[in-house]
């Protein structure tokens, strides 16, 4: 208001007030700069880059299919020395805490941030064919390990007509499992409303009644069942027996330059996988079994009940045998047929056909060598 209060000095503020303002500005700037430096420091911006000799391994956060990696890291399993240490491997996490999904890990491969990675076969195929990510598959982690969970028990898919089913998205193995199941039971897929959700959000959605069913991989299925959110309708092994799931992929250049490391990694991986199957077989109460559950609980954060249930639905297997290749080729055909892989990509990458692609993309030689000893 005009003419209210005392006259101000010519400067606009009296001197002490101006100094106050400048001090405030200086303090704020200082706080921001210092804060930024602290954050950058913690984010590793000033950290020395890891030595080239260290091998960077990628894995998926909380993914029970990649149990072998954590078993191979564990010292108790190896009786004092972990399997990786036994084979003189110096490993480090490509991403602390793991990657949130396979496609993200493939992106990291493309950016040269990952040397060896454990991930789903789907992104390993699609990202290579569509975006030419230069990886190669050298081993397997597991077969099967998914399930269709429904909110209420159903006798067959007809009971879900007109209802909402969540999948991790078209193009995932789970999506194809659903298609295959619908075909088997003679129910047109158009009868369902399909939505895409991250598996981590599926249980919430089911609890809230937003979805009537979901298809995902373990341990999301076991989690829903153990917590009485849903019931299991079909394990994926009943839908598509022995279907492939997670694999071991390597950056092609890295593999060519460091074949010994790859072979040694696979040796540790073979031992770990064998140990897992032995521990599973020895059953409840045995020391190995308890250790197995412990390891799994530790890196997934799930309860032992969920782990035990989920383990029953996963087949840990390291071999890339004919069974694997048959499924691999079958699946690649489907990806092309449904348009997930863009047309003509096989030819564009220089493969004669899907068979040649499969045989070239899966490099069996490393595993063969690793198995020999």
């Amino acid at each position: 208001m005009k003419n209210e209060g005392p006259q101000r000095s010519l400067g606009g503020f009296d001197l002490s007030q101006r100094r106050k303002v400048w001090t405030l500005i200086a303090v704020t700037v200082a706080v921001i700069v210092v804060g930024g430096l602290v954050v950058a420091f913690h984010a590793g911006l000033f950290a020395p880059s890891p030595k080239a000799a260290t091998v960077r391994v990628g894995w998926l956060t909380g993914d029970l299919h990649q149990l072998a990696y954590f078993v191979a890291k564990n010292r108790t399993v190896g009786g004092g020395k972990s399997f990786f240490e036994k084979y003189n491997l110096n490993l480090t996490d490509a991403a602390p805490g793991g990657y949130i999904n396979g496609p993200t890990m493939m992106d990291a491969f493309a950016a040269g941030k990952v040397d060896i990675g454990l991930l789903g076969s789907t992104p390993a195929i699609t990202k290579h064919l569509n975006a030419q990510v230069n990886t190669t598959i050298v081993g397997q982690c597991n077969e099967i390990g998914s399930a269709l969970i429904t909110k209420h028990p159903i006798s067959n898919l007809n009971d879900l007509k007109g209802k909402t089913i969540a999948t991790p998205g078209p193009g995932t193995i789970q999506y194809f499992l659903l298609l295959r199941l619908a075909e088997k039971e003679g129910v047109g897929i158009g009868n369902f409303t399909l939505i895409q959700l991250a598996p981590g959000d599926m249980r919430v959605a089911m609890e809230a009644g937003r979805i009537d069913a979901f298809i995902a991989w373990e341990p999301y299925c076991a989690d829903a069942v153990v917590n009485n959110v849903g019931v299991i309708y079909k394990n994926s092994s009943d839908i598509w027996p022995n279907h492939l799931c997670c694999i071991v992929a390597v950056h092609k250049t890295f593999a060519v330059n460091n074949p010994d490391i790859v072979i040694n990694f696979l040796k540790a991986h073979i031992e770990a996988t064998s140990w897992i199957n032995k521990a599973k077989a020895s059953g409840l109460g045995s020391a190995d079994y308890n250790l197995l559950i412990d390891i799994a609980v530790n890196f997934t954060g799930r309860s032992p009940a969920v782990i035990e249930r989920a383990l029953g639905n996963i087949n840990y297997k390291f071999d890339v045998d004919d069974r694997f290749m048959g499924c691999f080729i079958d699946f690649t055909y489907k990806l092309i047929q449904y348009g997930i892989v863009a047309p003509n990509r096989i030819e564009a990458l220089g493969y004669r056909d899907v068979y040649e692609f499969a045989n070239k993309y899966v490099s069996m030689s490393y595993l063969t060598e690793a198995k020999r000893t």
Partner: protein
């Protein structure tokens, strides 16, 4: 040639030149990088045009026109809801110190939370389509609210005084002075809010939407590594956002004529 016409031509020319420059830089960089992760402009635009002309089903089973309309509808409702709720609250907060104090604490705590973080909340508490609309709403709400509050507070206090000396009581003051005087500022807030709401479309479509959407389209294409489609989708999102903001700006300009400030 009229001055106004000449100015329009210059503006358009400069705009076109800068776009051309941008595309050239893009192309140069893409050629340099030579990776499928950065498609060249030609491929991207070819994909985009093919997408729009052929309107084929993608592997999620939907047409691009369905994706586009699904996203537009979500943003329309989310933005509309945000406007309807934020403007009255903003008007009252700008006017009454009590109301502002009562609401500002909650507002300032909720405002920094990114829309992305609301996804599980939206999944649990809302069913389709409200779940995705909610995410857009959260994005659009705060710019609209803040602009409204500021525009009320920056009303020339003298016209309030004048209105009082002309006999205006609380109600008339609000209806005949506060609202018309803050209309322009509110409009600016709406323009910004629409922009933010549109940007939330990608997050919004992760809640498990039915009927697809441009955000979902981009995520899908990205997860399988089809980056030409990703970039084409990004350009589409950008272009639609641009059109929306342009129309708001046009409305804003007409309004400022009415408001007497142009």
């Amino acid at each position: 040639m009229k001055e106004e016409t000449r100015r329009k031509i210059v503006t358009l020319t400069i705009g076109a030149l800068s776009i051309f420059l941008f595309i050239s830089l893009w192309d140069l960089y893409a050629l340099n990088v030579n990776s499928p992760y950065l498609p060249r402009p030609q491929q991207t635009f070819a994909t985009l045009i093919s997408m729009l002309i052929h309107n084929e089903r993608d592997f999620s089973g939907l047409l691009i026109s369905q994706h586009i309309s699904a996203s537009l509808v979500r943003v329309f409702y989310g933005f509309g809801l945000a406007a309807i709720i934020a403007i009255p609250i903003g008007l009252l907060s700008g006017w009454s110190w009590y109301i502002e104090t009562a609401t500002s604490t909650i507002v300032e705590i909720i405002r920094p939370i990114p829309p992305f973080a609301w996804i599980p909340f939206a999944i649990y508490f809302f069913k389709d389509p409200m779940n995705s609309i909610f995410i857009v709403f959260i994005g659009a709400f705060f710019p609209i609210l803040l602009s409204t509050v500021v525009s009320v507070k920056s009303i020339d206090p003298f016209i309030i005084d004048a209105a009082k000396t002309l006999g205006a009581g609380r109600f008339n003051l609000f209806r005949k002075v506060i609202i018309p005087a803050s209309t322009l500022g509110i409009m600016t807030g709406l323009r910004i809010g629409l922009g933010v709401g549109w940007m939330c479309v990608v997050a919004a479509e992760l809640v498990g939407v039915k009927g697809g959407g441009l955000g979902l389209y981009i995520i899908l294409m990205s997860s399988v590594g089809r980056f030409e489609n990703v970039f084409a989708g990004m350009i589409l999102i950008g272009a639609l956002g641009f059109l929306m903001v342009m129309s708001m700006t046009y409305i804003e300009r007409r309004l400022s004529k009415w408001a007497g400030t142009l």
